[in-house]
């Protein structure tokens, strides 16, 4: 038996065999070929096989994600038909070298050509050539490539890292959890794992080196433990833990159709965070009170061009209709930082998180921004839409963004479109400057939504992706709590409401503090909604308020956590 420790980023316990997404061994040597026609034939056979596979992948991607996302695999097929590429490889084979070497030489040549173009998107297309060449090479060598779409039994995915698109393709029918070497709590794959409701452990550093294909694994997604080849006793223990978890789950299930209300009768809203229109179903299935955060960047990512107004309108309308009049907060495009668009050239920056991102990009690309605003405004006729702008640091930014929104509204009305007259417009509080002048913002906005993931990062000046400083990522740090309190008080003073859509909103220790501070709306991943509703039902806000002053003068994050655990958490 062997244990590996990682960072638990999505709760749950899973039992299955390891499925290692490893780089296969594609090493080969340069060989002199005597029978050139036979070598050409071998190469052509590899092309045919690769094309067939890509066609299958295209079909799967097309049914699962649609035209746009599948287009990339159509382009991959074209690479395999490319006369220039094929001619270059065949010419090399004619000189009497083996197909593997010829392919490698030709693809290196094309990759160098692409890398020479002064354009990030084009440079990234070398990934497509590498991908296709790898597939061809694998066929020439008779090596099998790992492919997640052909799973037919329960597995736990083990990989160095998972890209958002890989995570998005995970079929939860067979994938019971995933383990990665790198990543942190707020990396996209972690967020997606919570959305999918499967356990995930990241940042193990060594999992891919230690875990062999097919090894039986127990994943403890609560404590971040990975147990390999468990003894019968340990297995028994986890079977029992899993039972306890499912009992708790069925207890939470009772809250599905109950209102979100504290023990002393205070109504709050417990909403869900989503990335795609399909995610709404998970929120409605657990009886979420609304959508607290619709991350629209997913409409822009994993594709080849900007989504047009119609596409966006359809997506927003779908979400609003599915929510049947429940409040739905859509966040305008938030790219930059760690989120890039392949077709949208962002400069390489020294400090991307302090750089060109979110509202800053939108305001400097008004055409792109206006398209999104128009789509939102048109969709507003189909539900209870609220719009919020991300990364606001100054009042000017908010005023500019709102002015564009109002301009587009007028234009649309002149064109005869119906636009809701009751759209609330708010901002995300993610930057300490905005939190500090929340009183000034509160006069002009309709609501605030506190984005704690970034607020914590900016308040403590700690890069949340940097493992060396992750100890400073402290949600209960007194500075963070004081900023949150400042924002809530300022808003309430002006009759406005405050939500929270960062990770903290679903955190067991943070919830009583936030209730005491008077937070109006808690927004989180679908899987946390019922648990949070159950927790809030046990707390009395009146009792909690008495602790507010005491909490605000505690000196460190650990003092806060100890205090909450000792005095505020209620366990049966």
């Amino acid at each position: 038996m062997l244990e590996i420790q990682g960072i638990a980023v999505s709760e749950g316990i899973a039992f299955a065999n390891a499925y290692c997404l490893m780089e296969p061994d594609l090493s080969f040597k340069k060989v002199t070929i005597v029978d050139v026609p036979a070598e050409l034939k071998r190469f052509k056979a590899a092309v045919v096989q690769s094309k067939r596979e890509l066609q299958e992948i295209y079909t799967i991607a097309h049914t699962k994600f649609g035209d746009e996302e599948a287009a990339i695999f159509a382009a991959h097929q074209l690479l395999l038909e490319d006369p220039e590429m094929l001619a270059a490889i065949e010419a090399k084979i004619h000189t009497g070298i083996n197909a593997e070497y010829a392919l490698d030489e030709a693809s290196k040549m094309f990759i160098a050509m692409f890398e020479g173009i002064d354009n990030v998107y084009m440079q990234e297309r070398t990934a497509d050539i590498r991908d296709v060449s790898k597939r061809l090479l694998a066929h020439l060598l008779g090596v099998e490539l790992t492919d997640m779409s052909h799973l037919s039994s329960d597995v736990i995915i083990v990989a160095e890292d998972l890209t958002p698109s890989m995570t998005a393709q995970i079929d939860t029918k067979y994938v019971k959890g995933f383990i990665t070497d790198i990543g942190g709590r707020t990396s996209h794959s972690a967020i997606l794992a919570r959305t999918l409701g499967i356990p995930a452990i990241v940042g193990t550093k060594t999992a891919t080196q230690i875990i062999k294909q097919g090894t039986p694994i127990i994943m403890d997604g609560i404590n971040g433990k990975i147990i390999l080849n468990a003894t019968p006793e340990i297995s028994q223990f986890y079977v029992r833990q899993q039972q306890i978890q499912s009992q708790l789950q069925s207890e939470f299930d009772q809250f599905r159709s109950l209102p979100s209300i504290s023990a002393d009768g205070l109504h709050v809203e417990i909403a869900g965070n989503i990335g795609k229109p399909e995610d709404v179903d998970m929120i409605t299935s657990v009886g979420g009170d609304g959508i607290g955060l619709f991350r629209t960047e997913f409409l822009y990512m994993e594709r080849q061009e900007l989504p047009n107004e119609e596409e966006q309108f359809t997506a927003y309308r779908t979400v609003l209709e599915k929510m049947q009049g429940k409040p739905t907060i859509v966040r305008t495009l938030d790219i930059g930082g760690d989120k890039n668009l392949p077709y949208f050239q962002l400069p390489t920056e020294m400090n991307p998180f302090l750089g060109y991102r979110a509202i800053r990009i939108c305001l400097s690309h008004p055409e792109m921004f206006r398209t999104q605003l128009r789509a939102l405004l048109r969709a507003s006729a189909f539900g209870n839409l609220k719009i919020m702008f991300p990364m606001i640091a100054t009042l000017d930014e908010f005023r500019m963004a709102k002015a564009l929104l109002l301009e587009e509204k007028k234009l649309l009305q002149n064109e005869g479109f119906i636009v809701s007259e009751t759209i609330e417009v708010g901002i995300m509080i993610e930057i300490p400057s905005a939190a500090m002048i929340a009183d000034l913002f509160a006069k002009e906005v309709d609501f605030f939504s506190i984005g704690t993931n970034d607020l914590i990062q900016y308040t403590l000046a700690t890069d949340r992706m940097n493992e060396n400083v992750s100890y400073l990522y402290q949600p209960y740090h007194p500075a963070v709590l004081r900023l949150i309190k400042t924002v809530i008080d300022a808003a309430h003073h002006h009759g406005k409401w405050v939500g929270m859509c960062g990770e903290m909103a679903g955190d067991e220790v943070a919830i009583p503090i936030l209730l005491a501070f008077g937070l109006d709306e808690f927004s989180m991943t679908a899987s946390s909604i019922l648990k949070t509703r159950a927790q809030i039902a046990k707390h009395s806000q009146k009792d909690l308020i008495q602790h507010t002053e005491r909490i605000l003068i505690l000196s460190t994050a650990s003092e806060v956590e100890d205090y909450v655990r000792k005095f505020l958490l209620i366990h049966d």
Binding site: A71, L78, L79, P83, F110, F114, N119, R125, E305
Partner: protein, 89 residues
Amino acid sequence: MKKTFKITTPEGLHARPTALLVTAVTPFECDVQLAYNDKSVNLKSIMGVMALGITPESIITISAEGTDAEKLMQTVTDVIITKGIGEEC
């Protein structure tokens, strides 16, 4: 035969629009070239076209020689215009 177009698709001639063009011209017998910035490539090669790094607002020239050149030119013009890739100059 020759025709000049201005690229209007906001992302330039990236993978998707290029794939549309290449797919449209591949079935034709005749040779077809795309010229941009003093460089000319085979329009049946997605690699060649993408390697030119053609940005929005660029002017490109497509030329075809051979038996079905006229039909090819009509097809490629249709694709460029109906798929919003560019406009005739």
